[in-house]
Symmetry: C2
Amino acid sequence: MTNYKLLLSYDGTRYSGWQKQGNTDNTIQAKLEQTLERLLGEPIEIHGSGRTDAGVHALGQVANFKTTLTKEPEEIQEYLNTYLPLDIRILSVETAPDRFHARLNAVGKHYQYRIDNGAVANVFARKYVARFTEKDYFFRKWTDLCKSQKRTIPGGAPLRNEQLPYDIAAMKRAAALLVGEHDFRSFCDNKRMKKSTVRTITKIDIKEVDGILTLDFYGNGFLYHMVRILTGTLLEIGIGCLAPEDIPTILEQKNREAAGFTAPSQGLFLTDVFY
Amino acid sequence: MTNYKLLLSYDGTRYSGWQKQGNTDNTIQAKLEQTLERLLGEPIEIHGSGRTDAGVHALGQVANFKTTLTKEPEEIQEYLNTYLPLDIRILSVETAPDRFHARLNAVGKHYQYRIDNGAVANVFARKYVARFTEKDYFFRKWTDLCKSQKRTIPGGAPLRNEQLPYDIAAMKRAAALLVGEHDFRSFCDNKRMKKSTVRTITKIDIKEVDGILTLDFYGNGFLYHMVRILTGTLLEIGIGCLAPEDIPTILEQKNREAAGFTAPSQGLFLTDVFY
């Protein structure tokens, strides 16, 4: 058996996520397995470093599979990039030690979340960012807050300017309180999670460049929806619905209800997997 | 009458170009006029700085229209960005002097052409770049040249690596010969063009960053398909099908057949219009 390690990138927009689910083959995993099976003529099981949800993108997902056939890595990459849809691209293929497993051997991950907070939406980024408008829960939460605090809403009412006045410094103070080893149960959307919800976040970077706000999360592992709930919570802190000082309490409560909203999938990228 | 000047951006992918054509309303101009007519309750005629072809994008198209109604520019922008499709965004609206005309007053334009020449296609840029594969005329032209010259084709045959070995220095030498006032009839796809085909190109910048090759063209005006034929010709020079020294001959012939191929629309952006 030869073990192959793949590095790949995908636009998650039209997929039901990474993992195969019952009869649907509209997943990244299913597309890869089907294409590899055509090349290799035997059943293939591919292991990703982790699942990405429906609509989530990847800049550097890692996966591995084993086959009884021996092919040049370049031939496998060439075949996949010829027959896979254009929204999935194989960046590299290499042979790996027999015991390499993309999920079990991963020691860390880097996710990036992108929000378009420019005065006017960027048409070319629109499928790869979150942008909050009047239709969104989060945007309404902010306008409600402005009204309750009698704050001036820039642009006046009806409010249609989608540019929110994020307090980046407050978000960074909150991020510093999230870094470290914590029980992140409050940041997990799987209520029946029976395994440990303790994880270590090693770094969170937050910056705004040309109207695009990016949040970079580095850690040893992330729970179901954890990056999106961390993002939602930091955004609620950014607009003043929550305070940085609320973070320790949110963590202590070990209750999903204590944290902020789940930011939408289309702004999320699995950027790097570390081994 | 009030004259309004608009600055706008659009993803041209799903449109039949800027200009209204007969019964189809699948144009940027038609979308804008329809939406403005709903706001203003009177027929509106909008003038763009120039037509963009089907599939061509804009980062900074300029247009103007006149109306008997007086509205705040912010109200017009707000209304358009609320009711236009998300692939058209109004970056600004301002009142302009009565005699301002987006096309007649334009003194120069800047277009950018983007080619993805990375080892593997960038999935997130794929709708906004040209990428040449085995299916393309241009790619086949290159493989034929390699065979005829007995050059080694990187990657061997069958050739599936889409990364072409552009000679950027040769492309820059050719670009320098295109700068200035010339009769660009050889670079015009309208064979029945009766008006002057003399134009001035003030600058052409060419660079490759992270596998994305960009060609920036600045000039006082561009003929039908001119930027795409200039790009096709420079790319043919880049791979050695034509030489920089061929440029003066191509210009002198005043014949479309003398120049290179017309690069596809999806890599082209109208970036700036100068007044």
